[in-house]
């Protein structure tokens, strides 16, 4: 089990370089894959596909609604289009196109949302993306996948291409700690248990997976043994695994680079309140816009530090003792 993750987390690799390379590999494997960009290919590194397959790369300009609509046209022609722009633009400016043609009609379009979370850190809140999971998750028929490191990008991208129907693939701009070993074999729709523990479960996605693992090592020193589940697929949620974690560990913490409203925390919360109400703590952005600054410092300042995960886990575990499992309102305003 431990062999899925590296013993020493900390070496970082560029997720966008991994994405560009994975796209090129995909292009070599499948000639039905086309790549479209709203003039951001030098940002998200989809330019690597352009360099390898210029005939299958299309820059539609700074026009996100057209980006999605042109991709819909390609899908109608039997192609597997990957549309590329900044994550927040799919969930906001181009949302109607996504809802109508991808979600309602099922157009087989793949959306690669670049610079998600706070990862476009120095560009600030206009470019940061903290509500995309909540917005897109509310729509029927879309599949949402959040890779946690460059290995995950490489392993999940071919599955995204092969998946029947629309997929939103959420990508980080920056170097991301390498979590997984080659033994990691994710499957869309199924969470991956990375560490065993019976006191609590941390369900994390994206860059928060590395931080969750680091948090568990601190918690182990306090004799709190924590299970870490990597939930790379936010929708459809692996509810069976969530409920099993709830029953077996009795407390859950979610950790995501997103608002605590409506994303992974929201999805897990909905699942637990219906099937297995137990103490839940959500780590993420607390319903606020953020600011510009260094990426790691921003994550720390806005509630996604390793210490925040540790504190949330302690809190969840302590609440297990309270048979009502209700959380005092004052404590929640910590």
């Amino acid at each position: 089990m431990e062999s899925l993750i590296r013993n020493q987390i900390g070496n970082s690799a560029s997720m966008r370089t991994a994405y560009g390379a994975a796209l090129v590999e995909l292009g070599q494997q499948r000639d039905d894959v086309v790549v479209l960009s709203a003039d951001v290919q030098t940002s998200d590194f989809s330019y690597m596909f352009d360099a390898a397959f210029p005939d299958r790369f299309f820059n539609v300009g700074i026009a996100e609604p057209a980006l999605v609509d042109v991709a819909v046209g390609f899908a109608n022609g039997g192609k597997v289009p990957f549309a590329n722009t900044f994550a927040f633009l799919f969930a906001t400016r181009a949302l109607e196109m996504v809802r109508t043609h991808l979600c309602y009609s099922g157009a087989n379009v793949k959306l690669a949302g670049a610079y998600a979370g706070l990862s476009d850190s120095f560009d600030g809140p206009t470019h940061q993306t903290i509500a995309d999971l909540a917005i897109l998750r509310s729509l029927p028929n879309i599949t949402i996948v959040v890779p946690a490191d460059s290995m995950a990008v490489r392993k999940l991208l071919p599955q995204v291409a092969a998946w029947k129907g629309p997929v939103y693939f959420r990508l980080c701009r920056n170097d991301v700690p390498e979590v997984f070993t080659e033994n990691y074999t994710p499957e869309i729709g199924k969470g991956v248990t990375l560490t065993q523990g019976e006191d609590a479960s941390i369900i994390a996605c994206g860059v928060m997976v590395a931080r969750a693992i680091q948090a568990t090592r601190q918690l182990a020193e306090q004799n709190i043994r924590v299970r870490v589940v990597e939930m790379h697929t936010i929708k459809p949620l692996d509810t069976e695994l969530v409920v099993r974690c709830a029953r077996e560990t009795g407390a859950i913490v979610t950790a995501e680079e997103h608002s605590i409203l409506g994303g992974l925390g929201g999805a897990v919360s909905e699942c637990l309140s219906e099937f297995c109400p137990i103490p839940l703590e959500r780590v993420g952005v607390h319903d606020t816009f953020t600011e510009c600054g260094p990426y790691s410092d921003l994550l720390d300042k806005y509630g996604m530090s390793i210490e925040s995960i540790v504190a949330a886990t302690q809190q969840a575990v302590s609440r297990k003792a309270d048979s009502t499992t209700l959380k005092s309102f004052e404590v929640s305003k910590r």
Binding site: V34, D55, R56, F58, V60, G61, A63, P65, A66, D69, V70, A71, V72, G73, F74, A75, N76, G77, G78, K79, P81, E96, M97, T100, H101, Y104, S105, G106, A107
Partner: protein, 300 residues
């Protein structure tokens, strides 16, 4: 069930692409456009909801496309090399469904299920429900960009299939139309033909009053599209424009069809009230009589 005076054998007749436009063919297609309007009237009257005005204005254009221009196989709606028709002005879909039924995609009887529960003929088009429908429409403005994607896809396949997009002129208010126009021109998509139903009226008033878009021809011309302007109820002009579009190389083509909203029923013509108006019993009878007269003139 609708009852109809249409002779289905005649109605399903397709004039092969490339054939000479004979007077008989022109008269027949013109006559059918009126008969199809009568179906639309029955459908909207039956459902007590729907959009008549914009369906009537595009009747001749759709009839020419489906019964002469488009290479299709109704028995095999997913045939990869079929021509594509993007019906961007989705609210006017009663005429699209009527034409699809007569082209053989489904039974004409099914038209009476329009906008009812469990129907395949939804209030706005949806490809997974209705055979022959290529993309969803209703939210306006999608057609050009989607058509551009279809045309690029065809080019990538080395296919000669063409993409036709039917727009309403009210859609020109929408920014994504012009995003799509830029994309079409950038890639020189001469396998893409956009037809604008310029009926001059949208939901709350004339286009001139709501959002002036003239000079429409100059706008598209300045976006590097080849522009053809026609009388959109004149079958002969429509057929010639579609032929001309086939001869243009290196640029996409836009056909500006000057039409009349509510065409064929005097009290509906040019009236925003008939964008989404529902005829009363008396209005229904009177409209039906006018449409039958319109068809009869071409039968003579």
């Amino acid at each position: 069930m609708t009852t109809s005076s249409v002779n289905y054998e005649l109605a399903s007749h397709v004039y092969p692409i490339g054939m000479r436009h004979t007077p008989e063919m022109i008269a027949d297609l013109s006559c059918r456009a009126y008969e199809y309007r009568a179906h639309v009237l029955r459908m909207v009257h039956g459902a007590k909801s729907g959009h008549i005005g914009g369906a009537f204005s595009i009747a001749e254009v759709l009839t020419c496309l489906y019964f002469h221009q488009l290479r299709l196989d109704p028995a095999n709606p997913g045939w990869p090399d079929r021509d594509r028709l993007v019906f961007s002005k989705g609210h006017a879909c009663a005429i699209l469904y009527t034409v699809l039924a007569h082209r053989g995609y489904f039974s004409v009887d099914e038209l009476s299920t329009f906008r009812t529960m469990n129907t395949r003929l939804q209030g706005h088009p949806e490809p997974s429900k209705t055979p022959g429908v290529e993309v969803a429409a209703g939210p306006l403005g999608h057609g050009v960009a989607i058509g551009a994607g279809m045309a690029l896809s065809a080019r990538l396949d080395g296919s000669r299939r063409k993409t036709y997009v039917v727009l309403g002129d009210g859609e020109l208010n929408s920014g994504v139309i012009w995003e799509g126009a830029l994309v079409g021109a950038k890639f020189g998509l001469d396998n893409l033909v956009v037809i604008i139903d310029c009926n001059g009226v949208q939901q709350t008033g004339t286009t001139h009053h709501v959002m002036p878009t003239e000079p429409v021809a100059d706008k598209w011309s300045s976006f590097n599209w080849h522009v053809i302007e026609i009388h959109g109820h004149n079958v002969s002009e429509i057929l010639r424009a579609l032929d001309e579009a086939n001869e243009i190389h290196g640029r996409p083509v836009v056909i500006i069809a000057r039409t009349t909203k509510g065409k064929g029923v005097s009290f509906m013509e040019n009236s925003p009230a008939w964008h989404g108006g529902i005829p009363s019993g008396a209005q229904f009878e009177s409209a039906l009589a006018e449409l039958e007269d319109g068809a009869a003139k071409w039968r003579a």
